[in-house]
């Protein structure tokens, strides 16, 4: 049943497994309990209050039906893994490319890297995903494009019951924990394309910022001074120029994380990857209030926490900032 209008918020709390009279009863009770005869902002306040008490309501989507808290526990670890892998790839690929592009200014390598990063910058994430799919799954046929693992491998596993793997709910990690290398490899193959997609999307910005920042730093006196000491170019770049050039990258990291999280939503949808992004999209398509409310809240919390933590870490790294 679709509850709309002023009563929209109730939808969160209707246990989808109830039907008929029992359902009507619950609805009436909920209307009473949640003051739904009162304006929407009051309702919102009550929702927030119950959230703080741990009750996030129910969600009803094709991929999952049940308490929101359970959905989060199920989907969040996957998204976390994806985001972390994507972040690592961004770092590992983006930083060297950005540095190299600045050092080899205007040479063919620089031009190539710039073309590459500008193009990536202008690409919607789903397009990157689609192109990767075409290359790796259609032409080369080496990587799968859906889900986290080949389901046939999961039959009869002791640590996998009812679609949930234990103990961490993340197939890849659980497989590693249990020493099941074959499954772990398969899971890895499933996660490469999604994380690569995210990494490519975010990398464009990182490369651009780093390149511009490095070019500025390389004009600075202290780089000339380092050269005047007779230090080899490699040390000048890696120990003197780049650490200072990284600061704009760090300060812009909040936006990078925002991009990452937004990207996660689309990427998971394209690859049918069971994370909170996919869940959010499904909630949207099915008008599932619980999913959307909880999903938004979740993303907000994640973003704020990560930005805060990263800000602190990067501020500590900068000797020009001294706390207190």
């Amino acid at each position: 049943m679709h509850v709309g209008g002023v009563y929209k918020l109730i939808a969160v709390y209707i246990n989808p497994r109830l039907t008929g009279a029992a359902r009507q009863q619950q609805i009436q009770m909920l209307i009473q309990k949640f003051h739904l005869n009162q304006p929407i902002y009051v309702q919102y306040f009550y929702w927030l209050a119950s959230v703080l008490q741990g009750n996030l309501g129910y969600t009803n989507t094709p991929i999952f039906s049940g308490p929101v808290t359970q959905a989060i526990a199920l989907f969040f670890p996957n998204t976390a893994l994806l985001a972390v892998l994507g972040g690592i790839l961004t770092w590992v690929l983006g930083i060297p490319l950005g540095t190299w592009s600045a050092v080899r200014r205007d040479k063919p390598d620089d031009v190539a890297i710039r073309v590459f990063s500008y193009t990536l910058y202008g690409m919607p994430i789903y397009l990157i995903a689609v192109i990767l799919i075409i290359i790796f799954a259609v032409w080369l046929k080496v990587l799968p494009i859906s889900g986290t693992v080949n389901p046939s491998l999961l039959v009869g596993l002791p640590w996998y019951r009812n679609g949930i793997s234990y103990p961490t709910h993340v197939l890849l990690i659980d497989a590693l924990i249990h020493g099941d290398w074959y499954i772990a490899l398969d899971a890895l193959k499933h996660i490469i394309l999604p994380s690569l997609t995210i990494a490519l999307a975010v990398m464009a910005g990182v490369i651009n910022i780093l390149r511009a920042s490095m070019l500025e730093v390389l004009e600075q006196d202290y780089v000339r001074f380092a050269r005047s000491k007779g230090l080899p170019e490699r040390i000048v770049i890696n120990k003197h120029a780049r650490p200072t050039a990284m600061f704009p990258v760090y300060t812009n990291f909040a936006y990078t994380v925002a991009g990452l999280l937004g990207g996660v939503v689309i990427v998971e949808t394209v690859f049918n990857y069971p994370g909170i992004g996919y869940w959010l999209t499904q909630s949207m398509l099915n008008n599932d209030m619980g999913g959307i409310m909880a999903g938004t809240l979740l993303f907000g919390i994640i973003f704020v926490t990560t930005s805060l933590v990263l800000d602190i870490v990067f501020a500590l790294k900068d000797p020009r900032v001294r706390l207190g």
Binding site: G122, Y126, V265, M284, L285, N287
Partner: protein, 299 residues
């Protein structure tokens, strides 16, 4: 020899130098040309679709007699996508919609942000604080997610998508304008203006605004690209519950089932987004070169 008259009054030496700097940047010129081409497309489709023989400029017409995507050919230069939609026509129509939507999001969002930014920063005090908290809230959620949430609350239509994106985007401009306003506010010529009796309103809009404008304009032009990407992304995940709209993201979804056999169905619409975004970015970089005096004198 210096000539009098209109030409040399419009083309002051300052402006001439700016034009020179801009046009010396070949990439920026290419960007400009492409952006203008897109704008031309949008205008023609909007106002004179008969010029290029479009009978249904605002929607995409499927052909169920031939639903399977066809590869590029003379009849269909970009091929067709499911169900039987000619991609060339579809893309031409879609450019108008996407570009139009981007403009409708960026311009009001920027205006809103600029005004709020200047006013709040200029008056300072608690108004400024409230502004900062507000922008912080909006920054704290990734824009895609917030757009989804707002879209849900207001119903999933094009209008609500535009409203959602405006709401998500104006804080950026408020922040931007804020930093410029803070700088300019303390400059002595503001004091001089005040001493001469200028009202607050005048100061804000005749003195501060012109200084804030150039970098903001550059940002706006680059945002046109970014917003187009976001809009198509939302359309791609199914935000708009309608079929047959000429929208580049939506067109991509039509081809998803045919990735193996007909890759052009997913690539063509996306490519047109990329071309626009990159062009607008190059254009923005070219403009930045013009307004930033430091970059002019170095090689």
């Amino acid at each position: 020899m210096a000539k009098g008259g209109l030409t040399s009054r419009i083309l002051t030496p300052e402006r001439k130098l700016s034009l020179q700097v801009f046009f010396s940047n070949k990439l920026a010129v290419v960007g400009l040309v492409i952006v203008l081409a897109y704008v031309a497309d949008a205008l023609i489709v909007q106002f004179a679709p008969w010029l290029i023989g479009l009978k249904h400029p605002f929607e995409v017409i499927p052909d169920y007699s031939n639903p399977v995507p066809q590869p590029p050919s003379w009849k269909h230069p970009f091929g067709t996508t499911y169900p039987g939609i000619d991609l060339l026509r579809a893309v031409i129509k879609a450019i108008r919609l996407d570009l139009g939507l981007s403009v409708v999001v960026v311009v009001p969002g920027a205006l809103l942000g600029i005004v709020i930014g200047i006013v709040a920063t200029y008056f300072g005090g608690w108004i400024d604080d409230v502004l900062m908290r507000l922008t912080d809230i909006f920054f704290s959620v990734p824009y895609l997610v917030l757009a989804i949430a707002i879209g849900y609350a207001l119903g999933r239509t094009i209008t609500s998508m535009v409203i959602a994106l405006i709401i998500v985007w104006w804080p950026l401009y408020a922040r931007y304008t804020r930093s410029v306003t803070l700088q300019v506010k303390e400059l002595t010529f503001i004091e001089a203006a005040r001493a001469a009796g200028a009202s607050n309103y005048k100061i804000m809009f005749r003195h501060i605004l012109p200084n804030a404008l150039p970098p903001v304009l550059v940002q706006m032009s680059m945002d046109l690209g970014t917003i187009m990407i976001v809009i198509s992304g939302l359309a791609f995940i199914g935000f708009l519950p309608v079929a047959n709209i000429p929208e580049l993201g939506y067109l991509t979804t039509l081809g998803l089932n045919y990735i193996n056999t007909a890759p052009w169905t997913v690539l063509v619409p996306g490519v047109f987004i990329v071309i626009f975004a990159v062009s607008v970015y190059l254009l923005g970089m070219g403009l930045m070169d013009v307004i930033n005096p430091r970059r002019r004198s170095s090689l």
